[in-house]
């Protein structure tokens, strides 16, 4: 399908993920009572329960539905682009279409079965609710990855200003010292030295001219 196919296909996958998440978090077709008193959730302290509810759906149900609506429209646009051949796509692969439809059917059936037997979120997640709430440790992984990178970045910034730029500053200091040395040499020189320097230069030029003559 290539790049364009991926671009148009990704809303479908995102929609599926968002649907699964809100089904788990909001409890299927139940009214806005977010977490019905089932064993796993009821066992949590009240404060944590409230935090969890706030964390999973800070703005209530409507927000989740709006997100789903946007994603569904995007999926439809993707599907239409494919069917109406708006782009130069290589056409539908029947294998993938069948697999996709089967996946949707199985997913919908599972959701329906779980929804009839109680809160699907609790049934699906069960005792591993804490793990799901913490996003499978994504924050921990983030910290484990980011801290060393930040430390490395500090080392690099230090090397940049102190070592690499140090050579540059060293070069500038050397140039300034050479200038000062030249100035002092000129101030100290005796006037009578000048003609002798000219004569010496003349001799050198003559010698180079004679020896280099071909």
């Amino acid at each position: 399908m290539g790049l364009i196919g991926t671009i148009f296909g990704s809303p479908a996958a995102t929609t599926a993920a968002a649907c699964a998440r809100s089904a788990a978090a909001l409890g299927g077709s139940r009214p806005p009572a977010l977490f019905p008193p089932c064993a796993a959730v009821a066992a949590l302290p009240a404060a944590r329960r409230a935090r969890r509810a706030e964390h999973l759906d800070p703005h209530g149900r409507g927000n989740a539905n709006a997100v789903l609506l946007v994603l569904a429209v995007l999926s439809l646009v993707g599907g239409l682009a494919l069917v109406l051949e708006l782009f130069d796509l290589p056409g539908l692969s029947w294998t993938w279409t069948v697999i996709t439809v089967l996946l949707i059917a199985v997913g919908a059936g599972l959701a329906f079965a779980l929804g009839r037997a109680g809160d699907p979120g609790v049934r699906f997640v069960g005792r591993r609710a804490a793990l799901w709430d913490s996003g499978f440790g994504a924050d921990t992984a983030y910290r484990a990855l980011v801290r060393p990178v930040e430390r490395l970045a500090r080392v690099v910034a230090f090397l940049d200003t102190e070592v690499i730029d140090g050579y540059v500053r060293g070069g500038a200091v050397a140039a300034r010292l050479a200038g000062l040395a030249g100035e002092r040499f000129h101030r100290r020189e005796r006037v009578r030295l000048g003609p002798w320097l000219v004569v010496a230069g003349l001799i050198i030029v003559l010698a180079v001219g004679v020896l280099g003559w071909r």
């Binding site: 990178v149 930040e150 490395l152 690099v156 910034a157 940049d160």
Partner: protein, 521 residues
Amino acid sequence: MALITLVLLPLLGGLALVAGGRGLAAPVATRVGAALAGVTFLLAVVVAVTRPVVDRSWLPELGVRAHLGVDGIAIPLILLTALVGVLVTIHAMGEVPAGGSPATFVGSLLLVVGGALATFTARDIVLFFLAFELVLIPMWVLIRRFGDPHHPGARAEAGHRFVLYTAVGSTLMLVGILLLVSSAGSTDLGRLVEAGAALPHGRQLTIALLLVTGLAVKVPVFPLHTWLPSAHTIAPTAGSVLLAAILLKMGTYGLVRLPLALVPSGFAALAPWLAIAGVVGIVWGSLVCLVERDLKRLIAYSSVAHMGFVVLGLSTGTVAGLQAALYGNLAHGVISALLFVVVGGLKRRWGSVDLRRSWPALREIAPRRGFALILGLAAALGLPGLAGFWGEFLAVLAAWRPADVTQIPVFRTVAVIAAIGGALAAAYALRVARLLWVGDAVELADPAGVADAVEAVDPSGDGDGDSGQRGTGEGLDVEARGVEWMALSALGLATVLLGVLPWLVLGVMDPAVTALLGGAR
């Protein structure tokens, strides 16, 4: 005729303003400058369409000719230069920094633009070098005289550093050019392509080493980059924009025109090392950006990272790599110009943009400037659909399949590291977005020293043509208005266009790039 006028108009106009415009009031000087830049832009469009050639005798004793011409590689850069010229002169209508007469400022801007146009159109290597050097002097004036007014010491240091660095680079380049001309017996870039490729490998390697090192200072390639952050931090907004959008481009353009095209076997021998330096630059620059405190320095280091991608593309020696490099070059010019206009305006009003402090949320107090910042950051991190994406993506792709198959292990390793470095770009771009765009709830009535700093900064004495922002809003009104908003809109539009329609530019470059590599290999 259009070509000669294109080069001479900004040069002579700039010279006239610098030399004789001392008595001009700011509104007059900036309007004259903007008019000259506008005409130059129109001429650039004419030149891009008609592609004229000028070839006249100039210094017959040395065999140097005044040979000007354009091809697909130069045209995008010429248009970029002319467009940036218009934007910086228009921007000067709203803000002329203290430090000299307004005419000197505008004249220096025009001289930089004219020198860059001469560099991009020169078809003679001596002419190229002269134009290349010409740009340094007005740029030095912009940094040294018109730089950040409340850090005189830092201004002097940045000026010295700029001159010393670039003079060393230019000297190396000059030695390389003289060696090439004396070995190959011509100064014409067209004739040198064959004559240079026929030189023995050892001689080619020496010439390529000199040229690459000299030009690497200008690009800049790691580890020759430390002049850039200090120059960017100190330079006025227009100077930063010119540095990022034009001067750095001259370095990469020189790398393509001189070592890559003229001494191909020497350049190919250096290519793996250049690729490694480029990738170290990507990772190095991005890492520094993660902890850098000054926003202007941060953008300068991100330039080092982006130019690393350009150098990586160049070093692959393939058509795809060269196209990626030239496209990345162009995109970086537009994106960094956009970011420097955003940040330069902030710095002028706030005094500094120290990322350790908390700043008010730009999305609330200045939504237009905030949007431009987010657009620039998104483009800088290489988001698909914006200008920055294609250059970086194609450079990594090209590095996966370099021209020299014996170097595949090196280039593939380098490609993987470059991709990781690209991910770091997202990290630092989001860091800046978090600190400035999302911002903090700083009470507007509690400037925490901002107002004092602004009092000290605001140098806009009488010469300031900007009337809308003085007096009432003080430094806390950072919304982009008037000419500043015009410049931001134009650059933002260019960022989106380059991202959505890359084939517009790639199509123009393709024949020239293929001819360049085909003629050399």
